[in-house]
Structure formats: C-alpha cells, structure tokens
C-alpha cells in the first residue's frame, strides 16, 4: 500500500453552487445521488453542462437521462494547494461519459493515489457534500473486477 496522499475534494464549506432553470435538474438529481445528463428531445444529442438550446438543432426540448455513473478520464491534472488550503491534493479531471456520448464533465477523482490516475482510467461516480445541502458528482477509480 502506497503512503502517497490520496486525492480528495474541496471541503464542503469552500464550495458553493448556483443553479438556473437549465441546470437545476442536474443538481436536484445529484442531491438524490443520481447522475443525469440532458439529451435533446428533438435530435437525441447529449450536452453538458446543461444549456438552454441544443447546439445541433436549436431545440429547447430536453429529456433528462439517468446515466450509469461510469466515466473515463479524458484528461486530468494534479493540483497541489488551493487558496486557504495549502496542503490539499486534488485531481481535477475531464471525463467522457460512455452512456452520454458527446458530453463531458469536469470533476474530481477522489480516494486515489494521484499517480494511479491516467488518461483512460475507468471511474465510477460518487457524491460529495458541498454548501447548502447540495451534492457534487465526483469519481472514484472503478473496481478492476467491474471495469
């Protein structure tokens, strides 16, 4: 077992989220520990972050689709320190979502040795508390048996 510092997420009191009518269903679902993505009700294309129009067909119709929570690291960084938190280690990632092709999420890998994270690493969603009772979708390295 490595003694490396495990990557974490920012403490709940540091993170505030704001919503609007386009994004609120995403956050309400996260609050119920569900990962969802908006899928165009007209042409079926996924998009993230949630926005008022489908960029492919300009439709405002949206089907909120529940995802499996599986993700793949598209790119990542390892961040040492954050304002007011000099010792924190974070692994911000951009992930592809296999069941929402064309949509990506920015998130954190948590609970992993940063050296373990690579482009292509398989992840599964988890949820991390932030201010005002909201939950933030974050990701853990997938169990190798499942992956």
């Amino acid at each position: 077992m490595s003694t490396a510092t495990l990557a974490t997420a920012l403490p709940a009191d540091v993170v505030t989220i704001r919503t609007d009518p386009s994004t609120e269903p995403f956050w309400q679902a996260a609050r119920e520990r569900r990962l969802v993505a908006p899928r165009c009700g007209n042409c079926g294309a996924f998009r993230l972050p949630p926005t008022p129009f489908c960029p492919h067909c300009q439709s405002t119709a949206v089907d909120w689709t529940e995802l499996s929570g599986r993700a793949t690291v598209y790119t990542y960084t390892v961040v040492n320190g954050y304002p007011g938190l000099p010792d924190i280690t974070l692994v911000p990632v951009v992930v592809d979502l296999p069941d929402a092709p064309g949509a990506r999420l920015v998130s954190n890998v948590v609970g992993a040795d940063p050296a373990e994270v690579r482009i292509g690493t398989e992840l599964t969603v988890d949820f991390h508390p932030v201010s005002d009772g909201w939950l933030l979708p974050v990701f853990r390295v997938a169990d190798r048996e499942q992956a």
Partner: protein, 403 residues
C-alpha cells in the same frame, strides 16, 4: 508580394506604458491613474495631444485585468479629451488583445473616429493566478469552479496533458519556451526577470497543476500599456514611422466556444489546441501572406503549452509537431532570420518581462517594425501578434512596415 499585402489603411502611431510592477506594488494608485499615464505616454510618443483622442477601443470588456473597470467617461473627463466619438470593447478576456487594434481600425475606417486609443491597465487586487477560485459562483461556473481549478493555468493544464498524451509532447518543450523567453528578457530594462533560467531550476520548480510548474505560468504584474491608432495618412504626419495594420481578426468556432468553461471541445485537434486555427486562417487570408512571411511572432504566453499550441494553430509547424519544433531551437531569437525558424516573444513575454494581458506583445510588434526593438530582428517586415487563448473571442493581428 508580402511588402504591400493587406489592409494598411490604419496604423499604430504611438505606444506608451507605465513602469511594470510586481503584484501589490501599485496598491496606492487607481486604475484611472495607471491607464491615464500609459495613454499620455502613447500620445507623447505619437506626437499628439491627448485632447485629440476621439475614440477608445478596449478589449476584455474594458475590464482592468479581470476585476475593476476602465470607465470611458472617467478617462475622457480626467484626461481632458474634448469629445469622444467612438467607445467600444471586444467581449471576452485577454483573447481580444490583438483584436482590439482591429476594433480601432474598424472605427477609423468607418469614419467614426480619427485617433483611437487601446489601453489595458492591470492591478492584482484580485490575484489573477487564482481568479477562478475567488469569483462568486454562477450557474455556469458551478460546473468547473468546485473542483480545485483555482486559476487559468490550472484550467489550461488539462489541455497540456491531452496534448502530451495525443502527440507525445514532453515537459522539455514547455521548459524550452520558458527558458528561451527568459533569454530574451535578459537585455530588457523593464523585465521582471533578467537572470537566465536553467533547466535545473525549471525541473526542480514547484508543480502547481501537473504537468505545469511555476515557470510555465506567466507573471502576476501590474501596470498599464496604451496604443494609439490613426489612419495611415494621418500617422505619416506624426512623430513616429507608422506601423500599418496589415490584418486583424477575432472570433472562433462553436467547437471551441467557452473553452475552459465547458471542456466540451469535441475532438483532440480542437481540445489540445489554442482554438486559434480558424482565426489564423482568416488572418493570413486577409493579409495575403503565409506563416513563412512572418518575421517575428509575439505569441500570447499566459502559459507555456499555449505558446506551443498557438505555434501549431498559426501554421509555424504541423499540428502535433509543436514539441519537436520548439526543441529544435526554432523559436530562439537571432538577429538574422533562419529558414524554418521564427523568433518568438523577443520582448521576454508575459513569462519574463511583464503580464499586461497581451498589450506588451503589441508594443513589441510596433518596436520591431519601427526597427527600434531591444532584440531587433533585422529588417523585420511583418509581425504577428496574438491574443490569449481563452473563451471566444480569440484574436490575431499582423503588423507591417510602411512604404
């Protein structure tokens, strides 16, 4: 023929700046004081009275950095400008620095104004290095801000990583950009850093957002820079040799869009890029020149990998070849042009001279074409100036030498 190609109807007639300061050193001054000092210096350089200024062409929505505002009314009133006939700003952020000169040209060509000032003033009351962390959350930022990407460099480290993965780019390439840029600053009186940067220093530096270390990040400077534009005919009657605008372009495609505010750029060629390729194509087409005609490139260097990706997008090498290109020594300054090489950021850039949101690159372009640059490229006829890769609009500018 490159010597006569392009628009050349408007020219840069004057440049001016305050001293360049380190973070916190201008705390006792106001934005208007800094901007005004730069404007007066640029007018003096042009041989104009500030009272003759009748247009303002800002970028970054006239924000001073990313926080405070530069107010047209305050500048006009306190500097004693008689009558303002044009005041506009490119949207976006530092991506518009080069493009603001195109905005000034638009005002002059349209006949709206005759003497236009572009100015950027910057103080670090909100520290730019961690500006993402310090902003109040919005519905859009809630998809990026919560994850520890505290500043622009953290955001762009994600593009750098993908570029390394797809094209095999190494940190040696980023080091070469930092080291070669520092080399250009050694002879610059106003540069923040005038000691050589060694590979050992680079590779032992603190990692901020892996793969980016301290020296991949630009400076956090304070100060102001102003640029005066006028019709080329008017500029010929002024104090300095006119530096004509050969072409200017700004914008970007949907695939780039909000860039680091969404990270949805669909393919690797766009994601691991500066988003500037469409602008570069339009710029060269309008200028009637090719990348091989450019004598000196002033590439917005907020972070070293973005220099590399702009070199690709502006056609100095093939896509994905930025690493080998810079490691070949191709961006090093030499007084004489070398085939296949392009001197980059001869002024020491934002990595080593000063970070005034792209405005120092315009100043260096002007000095190169006047023939007065500290690190002069002999006989330079065309200079490329780029705005900072970020959310749309990004921009580019080609400056020339008057007949």
């Amino acid at each position: 023929m490159a010597r006569d190609a392009g628009a050349r109807d408007v020219a840069i007639a004057g440049i001016g700046a305050t001293p360049y300061y380190r973070r916190g050193e201008t705390a006792g001054q106001s934005i208007t004081r800094l901007a005004g000092e730069a404007i007066l210096a640029a007018c003096a350089d042009a041989g104009l009275s500030v009272t003759e200024v009748d247009g303002l062409a800002f970028y970054s929505l006239a924000r001073a950095g990313y926080g405070e505002q530069m107010e047209a009314g305050e500048l006009v009133e306190t500097l004693g400008i008689r009558e303002l006939k044009f005041s506009a700003a490119l949207t976006g952020g530092g991506g518009g620095s080069a493009g603001a000169i195109g905005l000034a040209r638009a005002a002059i060509v349209a006949g709206d104004a005759s003497v236009v000032v572009t100015v950027m003033a910057l103080q670090q009351r909100t520290r730019l290095g961690t500006v993402v962390a310090s902003k109040a959350a919005t519905p859009a930022s809630s998809f990026v801000q919560p994850f520890g990407l505290a500043g622009p460099g953290h955001l762009m480290s994600l593009l750098a990583r993908r570029h390394m993965h797809v094209y095999g780019t190494t940190r040696d390439a980023f080091a070469e950009i930092a080291i070669s840029t520092r080399q250009n600053a050694l002879s610059r009186p106003k540069a923040a850093y005038r000691e050589p940067l060694t590979r050992e220093q680079y590779f032992s530096a603190r990692m901020i957002a892996d793969p980016l270390c301290l020296y991949d990040f630009c400076l956090e400077s304070e100060g102001a820079v102003a640029i005066v534009t006028a019709s080329v005919e008017r500029a010929r009657d002024l104090r300095q040799p006119p530096v004509p605008v050969v072409a200017a372009a700004h914008g970007g495609t949907r695939e780039w869009g909000r860039a680091f505010s969404w990270f949805g750029m669909p393919d690797d060629e766009t994601f691991a890029s500066s988003g500037s390729k469409p602008i570069a194509g339009r710029l060269y087409q309008r200028a009637g020149v090719t990348p091989q005609d450019i004598d000196v490139a002033l590439i917005y260097d907020h972070f070293t990998p973005m220099v590399l990706m702009q070199l690709e997008d502006y056609g100095f090498c093939e896509k994905g070849e930025g690493g080998p290109f810079v490691l070949s020594g191709a961006i090093r300054y030499t007084p004489e042009r070398r085939p296949g090489a392009i001197p980059v950021n001869t002024h020491g850039g934002q990595l080593s001279e000063a970070y005034i949101i792209g405005a120092t690159h315009i100043v260096e372009g002007v000095e190169q074409l006047r023939g007065t640059a500290v690190n002069q490229v002999a006989g330079a006829e065309l200079a490329l100036v780029t705005g900072g890769p970020s959310a749309i609009p990004n921009s580019g500018l080609i400056l020339g030498r008057d007949r």
